[in-house]
């Protein structure tokens, strides 16, 4: 049985729809990331699950039990806030012990569990520090320890890495992953950073305008985006507009080319996605489908590869990856011939 089931959640703030008939299941011990832009409803979703907002309709089931009427302090789950929300007047140990005190955990056990939780996030020796004397990364770990010390089966994390600088983010991300495995709790993590979402999660759920657009393992969502939004949001795929040609192909006037996927393109296809790194440069023009040509407008060096902006014959601007081992990228203004495999073409529903 799912640990958490959301059924048909609707939440509006005035005229804006934050959650639009949203369904989602979370399995025990699963690491789920909620990915979406600002205003996609991902933070509202967390606040509804935590109990700070009430959905207008729909159900929040925790282990099969509807918890809509349960106030936040009685819900057996914990949340880590984006701002960390550390209590400024309490020490590190005081912050971590706060939730245990509310549950009337006896003093000795409380001290033991606080020490354990601080050891878990490697903050031994900081017990008496006040939050304002901690670095950003240390605050983040206190917030994590405070949320984990009650041993929740479900932990909600609102942009837990958002306030950290870039080099700390990756390391902390791995630590988060390890902690999740160690504690066995299910994590629901909200983020707007696709790299974070893909790197950490067992499953990624992409939200757009309060609706769940696609959910699945990171690789599957990355490789087979379902809609234009997902394709553009994850990895910056080229979204190619056009029409099915009725013969299993997809006419793309912007490329002045026909696209073919591995299976025939069905009539409901609205556009096709094509990842930059799946496009290859050819020395000579290639006849037939899945090929095009254009003029290089910009070349951006990115370290392990270069990104080319190519103006295709039909007027579309294509992002094309150029790996370093393939030699120097073509200069600006040169004409290039492009080709890709059918497996790289992903038909999009909407």
């Amino acid at each position: 049985m799912a640990l958490l089931s959301l059924r048909g959640l609707v939440k509006r703030f005035g005229d804006t729809v934050a959650l639009d008939h949203l369904d989602l299941d979370v399995a025990p011990g699963e690491f789920l990331t909620l990915l979406g832009g600002s205003g996609s409803g991902k933070s509202t979703l967390l606040r509804v699950v935590a109990g700070f907002e009430t959905a207008e309709s729909g159900a929040v089931l925790l282990e099969g039990r509807d918890i809509a009427a349960v106030p936040p302090h009685a819900r057996p789950l914990n949340m880590m806030f984006q701002s960390y929300a550390l209590f400024p007047h309490l020490s590190v140990a005081g912050n971590v012990a706060y939730g245990l005190k509310r549950d009337d955990v006896p003093r000795a056990e409380r001290d033991r569990r606080v020490a354990e939780a601080l050891a878990l996030v490697r903050l031994q020796g900081f017990e008496r520090r006040l939050p304002y004397r901690l670095s950003g990364g240390q605050k983040q770990r206190v917030a994590l320890a405070r949320a984990l010390v009650k041993r929740p089966r479900l932990l909600l994390l609102d942009e837990p890495l958002g306030a950290l600088d870039a080099n700390l983010r990756e390391r902390t991300g791995f630590e988060l992953r390890a902690l999740q495995r160690e504690t066995g709790a299910a994590f629901i993590m909200v983020t707007h950073d696709q790299n974070e979402a893909l790197a950490l999660a067992d499953r990624v759920a992409v939200l757009e305008a309060g609706r769940l657009v696609q959910a699945g393992p990171p690789r599957a969502v990355y490789e087979r985006p379902a809609t234009r939004f997902v394709a553009g949001f994850l990895g910056g795929a080229n979204v190619l507009e056009g029409q099915p040609d009725g013969a299993g192909g997809f006419d793309c006037p912007g490329l002045a080319a026909t696209l073919r996927a591995e299976a025939p393109v069905d009539r409901g296809t609205a556009a096709c996605a094509l990842r930059p790194e799946r496009i290859t440069l050819r020395p000579s023009p290639l006849a037939g489908a899945n090929a095009s040509q254009g003029v290089v407008e910009e070349v951006a060096f990115r370290g392990d590869d270069s990104l080319l902006l190519v103006r295709a014959a039909g007027g579309a601007l294509l992002r094309v990856g150029h790996a370093e081992e393939d030699g120097a990228p073509p200069p600006r203004g040169s004409t290039v011939h492009l080709a890709w495999e059918a497996a790289a073409v992903v038909p999009l529903r909407g």
Binding site: P71, H73, A74, P88, P131
Partner: protein, 270 residues
């Protein structure tokens, strides 16, 4: 840096203007003679006269009682008003509520005094209470004025305390009252103390409103001092100024020290 001397000079002159009259007179409160520029020798006779002035002492005790009560009531009420303005979402009549909360801050004393007196007179006509105006009516009037100031302090402070802190407390198992008591209240405490002191000061310093709403039974210290000054200066007023100055300085120093200790222990607020 070039202009610093001008600004520093302005500050020095302003402080001199503020302090010279007070210090001059305060110093001479210790002089045996009453004549300017003639030091009559160190003497505490004016303080002794002050202590022996039964009417003054009685009024001072009444003022202290009224001010303590008014400040305490002002903190409770002003705290609630500030909380409503900062934390309670929109409700019907919010604009009116906010306007009324700010009104005592801008009303001239004579208008506040007159309006409250009329209210008490009318209330007595309807309910029979207050049968006699005095300490209680002054206390209510001062609490109303003080609450407006406390509300401003509390509202400003609550705006600095992230509402997420209470959310976090509730997420960790605290019911709303417990979250308020364990998180918001401790963070609010410095403002409540400052508000209490401000309301206390306003109360012990007020002569106009108190004169309006008081009756024969209630004569506060400022009312006595005012009548003394009306008849001309008496050295006892100088001695009283010294007493007030010393008390105020001690309170301020204690407050600053407490704040510094609290900072060291807790750090600056979010």
């Amino acid at each position: 840096m070039r202009r610093l001397p001008v600004a520093a000079l302005g500050l020095a002159l302003g402080l001199l203007f503020l302090w010279l009259p007070v210090l001059l007179l305060a110093a001479y409160a210790f002089s045996d003679a009453r004549i300017p520029f003639q030091w009559g020798g160190f003497s505490l006779r004016w303080f002794a006269a002050l202590a022996a002035n039964a009417r003054l002492i009685e009024a001072a005790l009444l003022s202290l009682r009224v001010a303590c009560g008014a400040a305490t009531l002002a903190v409770l009420l002003g705290g609630a008003i500030g909380w409503v303005l900062a934390r309670r979402g929109p409700f019907r009549g919010r604009a009116l509520f906010g306007a009324l909360a700010g009104t005592p801050l801008v009303l001239p004393d004579v208008v506040t005094g007159l309006s409250l007196l009329l209210f008490f007179v009318l209330l007595e006509g309807i309910t029979g209470w207050p049968a006699e105006r005095g300490a209680t009516t002054i206390l209510l009037a001062h609490a109303t004025i003080g609450a407006a100031y406390v509300a401003v302090l509390v509202q400003a402070r609550l705006a600095e305390i992230a509402p997420e802190l209470e959310d976090a407390a509730r997420d960790l198992g605290a019911s709303p009252p417990v979250a308020f008591a364990t998180i918001t209240l401790p963070l609010l405490a410095p403002s409540l103390v400052a508000g209490w002191l401000l309301a206390f000061t306003l109360s012990v310093d007020d002569v106009v409103v108190a004169s309006f709403v008081s009756g024969p039974a209630g004569t506060t210290l400022p009312m006595v001092v005012f009548s003394m000054l009306r008849l001309g200066l008496t050295p006892e007023v100088n001695a009283l100024a010294v007493v007030i100055l010393v008390l105020a300085a001690a309170l301020l120093a204690a407050g600053a020290l407490a704040l510094r200790l609290a900072r060291r222990r807790r750090g600056p607020a979010i």
